[in-house]
């Protein structure tokens, strides 16, 4: 049976009620006393990192990878199983080869990173504090920062010989520019009111730098350290692949040339662990130095 047709005013009133209810998002049901709960509308848009979800995900992927390898679904020459990679790492550690390569890489990264960081901090502070240094330094940094530093390695070999110096210099150059940028950005981000406050108490220039500017810039500087640690890792591998007998980069390249993919991936895993270790050390430093945040 067809519904009775509504009069125009009735239809209009019902439509208005329906639209209002839909727009308010309120539920239609009412309790006996005529009240109804206000619908909750504030959910979502607040993702939380699961406490164990990340690790569970990694374990699942490795298990599937191992299953695919053991079942023969993947040719081990192209992708060795996780167990094969683990065995390769164990044998490398046992024979001492791992430590030999790791020691060379660590020496190059450590020396290059320290040299680049010291120079970058000095230049970054100068740019942050002096108009002259800012004028000159910003021009050079803007011009030279985009150059892929590894492209300079052949030139550095020409200048410094074929020893360790060009590799360390490449890493130092890569670290220098990012450090200088993070330091002067950090200095720029120190609230000016804190500097004015210190000046209003006639605090000397060097004390302002030590007690106000340095701690104020530290969050940006430490964030820069994370970036420069990654740059140093990237450059050491690249430099070692171009011209080195020892080092993780050289080892990975040799393994690739010999089609020893388990050794190759063992090198990649070691690099990843090395990167994670640096990240963990920097987190420790941040917790210690930035506890006030």
């Amino acid at each position: 049976m067809l519904d009775q047709p509504q009069s125009a005013p009735e239809a209009s009133a019902n439509l208005a009620k329906t639209v209002a209810a839909a727009a308010s998002g309120l539920p239609q049901e009412k309790s006996a006393d005529g009240t109804r709960p206000v619908a909750f509308r504030g959910g979502g848009f607040a993702p939380q990192p699961g406490r164990h979800a990340g690790w569970i995900g990694v374990v699942i992927v490795i298990a599937l990878w191992q299953l695919a390898g053991s079942a023969g679904w993947i040719n081990p020459l192209f992708l060795p199983s996780p167990l094969a990679i683990g065995r390769a790492i164990y044998q490398l550690a046992l024979s001492g080869t791992l430590w030999q390569h790791l020691a060379w890489s660590a020496m190059r990264i450590g020396t290059g990173w320290i040299l680049g960081t010291v120079a970058g901090v000095i230049v970054g502070l100068a740019i942050g504090l002096s108009s002259l240094a800012r004028g000159v330094g910003m021009t050079f940094i803007s011009a030279l920062f985009p150059i892929p530093k590894i492209a300079l390695l052949p030139l550095l070999i020409l200048w410094l010989g074929i020893g360790e110096e060009p590799k360390i210099a490449t890493i130092a150059l890569g670290v220098f520019f990012s450090t200088a940028i993070s330091v002067y950005s950090g200095v720029d981000s120190v609230p000016r009111n804190l500097i004015r406050m210190a000046q209003s108490f006639n605090v000397p220039f060097t004390t302002i730098i030590r007690r106000v500017i340095w701690p104020g810039a530290l969050p940006s500087i430490l964030a820069g350290f994370r970036i420069t640690a990654s740059i140093a890792l990237l450059l050491v591998v690249s430099a070692e692949m171009i011209g080195a007998q020892y080092g993780i980069g050289a080892f990975v390249l040799q393994a690739g040339n010999l089609m020893q993919t388990d050794q190759l991936l063992a090198g990649v895993v070691i690099l990843s662990a090395f990167g994670l270790l640096i990240g963990w050390l920097l987190s420790l430093l941040e917790r210690r130095l930035l506890h006030w945040r």
């Binding site: 609230p191 009111n193 804190l194 004015r196 406050m197 210190a198 000046q199 209003s200 108490f201 006639n202 605090v203 000397p204 004390t207 007690r211 106000v212 701690p215 104020g216 006030w292 945040r293």
Partner: protein, 257 residues
């Protein structure tokens, strides 16, 4: 020690901010500086405190600072300007580090400043752990630790809620009661001005020039009496009538800026 604004004019680029402002803050006197938004009150305070060089005129000092004053002109900032990486105790000790005081002398000065501001129990707290009112108390403790001759206060209560403002106003009245310290007190709040100041400098809208200097006809002790309320309210209304039209114009100007 007197602090004198002598024919001060200032521009930011082509924008005239202050024009020919002259007045004096005499020893132990509290002078409030009021006026519409953007009239150059804070700029004037920065010039008086030596943080900004005026284009014309100058800030002058007359007479000697009291014996033992480590920083005769000392600011109390609107945003507190506390070092977030330092504890309350270290923030108060910060301006003393270069003064030549020994560690034990510094310790005694800090302890006294914290005691006077009720912060002794918060000595090891960090600024982020404190409420706005407590943070400003740290700013005040830091200021009084250097025994100033004149406090330069730039809207020190404007970032606080009304209850905290009231409590801190009582603290200011107590601190300035004995006349050992003078103050320049920049504020939008006319009630604060009439409660605290001996004289009130009223600036016109930008470029700020002195419209009037009003003397508050009661001592600060008398202002606490119940009978004084009407007089203070009348004075507050008088000040408001002086700046109301310009405040409206200034607000429209800000909205259209």
């Amino acid at each position: 020690m007197d602090l004198i604004a002598s024919r001060i004019s200032h521009k930011f680029g082509t924008l005239d901010v202050l024009t020919d402002v002259s007045f004096a803050i005499r020893t132990g006197e509290v002078v409030a500086i009021v006026g519409p938004s953007g009239c150059g009150k804070s700029t004037l305070l920065s010039i008086l405190g030596g943080l900004l060089q005026p284009n014309k005129g100058r800030a002058e000092l007359r007479g000697e600072a009291p014996a033992g004053s480590l920083n005769p002109l000392t600011f109390v900032f609107q945003d507190f300007a506390l070092l977030p990486w330092s504890t309350v105790g270290d923030n108060v000790a910060f301006p003393l580090l270069h003064t030549g005081l020994s560690a034990s002398e510094r310790e005694a000065v800090v302890a006294d400043a914290l005691r006077r501001t009720g912060l002794t129990d918060f000595r090891d707290a960090y600024p982020k752990q404190l409420s706005g009112g407590m943070r400003q108390r740290v700013g005040i403790a830091r200021a009084i630790a250097v025994r100033p001759a004149i406090l330069l206060m730039d809207e020190p209560l404007s970032a606080l809620d009304s209850q905290t403002r009231e409590l801190l106003m009582e603290d200011f009245i107590g601190l300035l009661a004995d006349g050992s310290m003078g103050a320049a007190y920049v504020t939008h709040n006319l009630e604060e001005a009439v409660r605290l100041a001996d004289r009130i400098v009223v600036l016109s809208r930008r470029p700020g020039r002195i419209r009037e200097v009003v003397t508050v006809p009661l001592t600060r002790t008398e202002r606490g009496d119940f009978d004084a309320r009407e007089k203070l309210l009348a004075l507050q209304n008088e000040l408001w009538s002086l700046i109301r039209d310009e405040a409206i114009d200034a607000e429209r100007e800000v909205q259209h800026a």
